[in-house]
Symmetry: D2
Subunit: 357 residues, 4 copies
């Protein structure tokens, strides 16, 4: 597949440019007979939407999902679900200065190198707007998983230098995460994070940070050796999100400082099979779930669109100065929480469907 599909059993294909007629997603492999909750999907989309709070861009996106196929009398047919999103509020003229100029640390130059041409308006295919289809697909996956008692949750754990306290992945709730616009469940840290974001914005700058995620209720035995490990698929999923630059499973980089005797997770008998007394493994051993919560983190770089004059080159290869216009987020993390969750749902539903084989 040439790059726009994800998954093996629950296959998600996204399409669309940020300023084309529409974007969307086709999902092939949705289990039949599911009563699709479109309001729940809208709620997920609202968490991803720009302009949710004063922390982010003022840009509004039309993201009302239009289900074109695969649904009949409210139930999934087992045939491809196509969901489209029209592009409305697209101020394409804002981008005229980017037709021939490559923005630093954007995909402008690399798309030209790959394809020989690009839609320069709003990032075209490389725009984070592409993820609207992922979140819609993730909402479908989430409903399949929820019926099996599996839930997926993510939250902002650090913005720039402002870190939240450790969160118990077994008990954290979405209500706690969404209590603050920045989607950090630690109220005090959320305040510091918001201040950091506002400070960056005031200076025309941007900040990055880290998101933590957890999946709970997974049975042991999900995942396939040796290349389709849960962690490998999660890593690919997370690094496919715009601006993602790192991934950790379980103890991640911190665990590399420990000795094996401290890092190993002892098994003890549990009610429904073995459980571990610690979870450095992040719920995965040998690429397969062990029944403990699956935990991971994702690093997001500061987004590249800043309102400073920058050095760059144009298509003719000449040095030029660039000062971006348009509407952009100083920090994507609060919105990226919805995308991280969606991608995790896609990975897990795929392995879930494979398990039932």
């Amino acid at each position: 597949m040439p790059g726009n599909s994800f998954g093996r059993r629950f296959v998600v294909t996204t399409f669309g440019e940020s300023h084309g007629p529409a974007l969307g997603v086709v999902i092939d492999g949705v289990p039949p007979g599911l009563v699709l909750d479109l309001d729940a999907m809208r709620a997920e989309l609202a968490r991803r939407r720009p302009g949710q709070s004063t922390l982010g861009t003022a840009r509004k996106e039309g993201d009302e999902p239009e289900v074109q196929s695969g649904l009949f009398e409210g139930r999934t047919l087992g045939t491809p679900l196509c969901i489209t999103f029209r592009n409305d509020d697209t101020k394409s003229a804002d981008y005229d200065n980017l037709r021939d100029t490559y923005r630093p640390s954007h995909a402008d130059y690399t798309y030209d190198a790959r394809f020989g041409l690009r839609d320069h308006r709003g990032g075209g295919r490389s725009s984070a707007r592409e993820t609207v289809g992922r979140v819609a697909a993730g909402a479908v996956a989430r409903q399949v998983l929820a019926a099996e008692g599996i839930e997926v949750l993510a939250w902002v754990s650090r913005v720039a230098n402002e870190a939240g306290r450790d969160v118990d992945p077994e008990t954290i709730t979405r209500a706690q995460v969404d209590a603050h616009a920045v989607r950090c469940p630690d109220a005090e840290a959320a305040g510091r994070m918001e201040a950091a974001i506002r400070a960056a914005r005031a200076e025309g700058d941007t900040v990055g940070g880290v998101i933590h995620g957890v999946a709970r209720g997974l049975p042991p035995g999900l995942g396939s050796p040796v290349f389709d490990k849960i962690e490998a698929d999660l890593a690919r999923a997370m690094l496919s999100i715009p601006a993602a630059k790192g991934f950790e499973s379980g103890s991640g980089y911190a665990g590399t400082y420990l000795r094996g005797s401290a890092h190993n997770d002892p098994f003890v008998p549990g009610e429904r099979g073995p459980v571990t007394t610690t979870n450095h493994s992040g719920g995965v051993q040998g690429g397969i779930t062990n029944g403990m919560p699956v935990t991971w983190t994702v690093a997001f770089k500061p987004v590249a669109t800043i309102f400073h004059e920058q050095d760059t080159v144009n298509r003719a290869g000449q040095a030029v100065k660039l000062r971006p216009r348009g509407r952009h987020d100083p920090c994507v993390l609060p919105r990226a929480v919805a995308i991280v969750e969606a991608m995790a749902c896609l990975v897990l539903v795929d392995h879930w469907l494979e398990r039932l084989r």
Copy 2:
């Protein structure tokens, strides 16, 4: 594909258990007409082999590659290359105590949960011995890449708390890496790392750490949006390696502390197209190479096999004590360098072949 294949154009399928008759790899998609350098392949395999130095296990593995197909008069035919490795030095009786007992932080329990049975001898399919086929395939990929001026190199940058000095990814050489048994090019740090490994071994314990990698000579334009990004594929490749728990592309987690204005990589005109004056992006923007070196790191946890008595459970669900026997590495990083390089070669040759479309 049910988990044992990697790649889309250069498709690598590994097979084999550590104590079965043989392990191996089938590579479909090898360009025809390549004069295959088997000695170069043997050299890569030697870097992965246990028992290279007194740092590692005394176990010897038969890893003479036997090419069964796809080669005629020294050249690749464009048909599948099958390479097998016989299992010789397999002391299976060493593992009898593991038939019904789950080692903590190994894949014993999870394989049982997935498949309902397992080959308990030496880890079976979850053994790191499986990677012998990956390294053989990586050696073929490396030869394809080398013909295009592309080289891939990795090194140990930290073991437990012992970190090496920063290395210039543009100039580091394999000779520098292999100058020390621990495969850290910084002589002073290498000494500290080796001491840490010997100390852990003396206590029947293990240590983890970090490997850095670089690919040089890549043209701009490799990689496919939106899911087959170079970084996403590298992340999946790296997290599929046994004991890997983290991945960073370019600036990774450290970059999340920077503001966009500091993190962005300014473009300037170069001899063969735009170049960047910094490389926080790690050579990839929007998932596509920009012509700068592609850089990444991988975190490896301390390996799970320690020679301490540990709490665990057996297949019957009862609490038991376990003290592993057998021969094991106190630190996999020096050998994992070869695996990290091999997996990177597989990712890059795949994208290279896709580019030629």
Copy 3:
């Protein structure tokens, strides 16, 4: 992939039910920079459309293609091309009697067996309307192939007992094919075929027949042993068309009566490499093109919708009588010519793109 995608390099995914909001296709892998000729696409769609002549159904379908993505200033971006078709003229009430009754030799019962539910209106996903997306995708593929001097052509060679004279696959033209509503280039036979179709319709019955196809201008060397043979992919493509029940490559079933000495195609030197003096092989040897025209046939059964009372069963498993209503073709072959060509274009463009590796 769960069944709705075709191709490896030029990946076509169709979606949509005949009476849902819209149908369409996503094409991933379209070469970038192609100036897409939408009028040429409309012309292909017009050849597939119901109601073209008095031979077919009076049903009209809205098949104006709406390009949602992948196109910028008239050129393909190399990103997914999504093309949708709205469903307008859908008299769903015509199908109310089919909600609980299985039409003989339709997919009603088998969809229920597969999915547990179905959209009974107009056949839902099993409707031939699904092929509108295939024809649109085929039109894109055809433009890629045409730029390489490759052309694909099909025609009706037999309807029921009425056969046309042999056609020279090297010289036949689309103008000759389209000169008659039945799409048989033999005028006399076309008259007999049309009479057979009208006779069947007058009796509320249907007829089948055979379509021949040819691809010209293919270079030698397209196709991949051993499973992705050109013939194997063509066979799959053709048998995926609704109502197709047979496929022949080159000499097909007739060739099985010959001895090898009569069937073998002698090579002689040609201007641009070897050519054969006969073409029983149908341009393919060992699954790979030899530079001669690729030829094949497809058998189409008489369509299942007849206006006779028939015995069948309902969802409750009871015997019932059924007399279909609605608007249907007495013979699909004239329209199926466009679908046969489209699917052949999809197979060939895939192998063409693979060749450029």
Copy 4:
């Protein structure tokens, strides 16, 4: 995948050239815990083996299967099963005259066109010897299917002009098929077929013919619209067999002469759901099984290796005369029965595993 793999859930990858060190197959996706019956596999391989009777070639092939992986204490592990076959009786010198000469209607020229080089000894990768791995894999698939009450059977229905009487696909047995060396269950016709084969051989010539197949015991609901139809997958599978030139599902080409009213299969209530009173559909409607026997045919051309002097060209493009040497079958159909059955088993087990999702 670049051509040497078949299947989505039960993925079969074959490798090997006829005169290389070994051939074989890797099967990924074998259900775990299956007690593998290797003697049953040997029996299938014996039916494919050259030199079974005086009808075929005197060439003997070493086809003792060596299981390299995926099996532990007699049970499948759910990990890849690799089975190899050593090449022993390879008289490579017999083929020296083919190094630079293209045999008519073989794959010699087309492999050169595809790959730029080839192993000319015994056909290399294009040799029918490649199918030994398919038959081994088919034997594994057959065991999975047998446990579900599904059986697959094929027989020779015509050789050149000698046709057998119609066979009842519901009751035909393997014993009846194997009662005659030619594998036609009609004794009288078997005699005529054998005479035709011996006559062709006496004249250094070859004959083709038709094989019929049936799968019984399939539940309704196997198969996936719209491209992964059972018939489409069977067609691809059959056309991937060397020398196959045609495929029919159910009524095939003969059914195209019927009207819909005669061709439709009326449903009547059955003990375990609807059944049809006729089976023109060949057990498949809309690409999905309806619970009736799945039936098909395959056309095999006369094999290309004849012992007559033939016109051809060499690699330099010059006209030359060729008279093949070596050992070859005058008719592949008796042996091809085993290959047809194996490929059908691969298709059906794939859909069976998909159904359990």
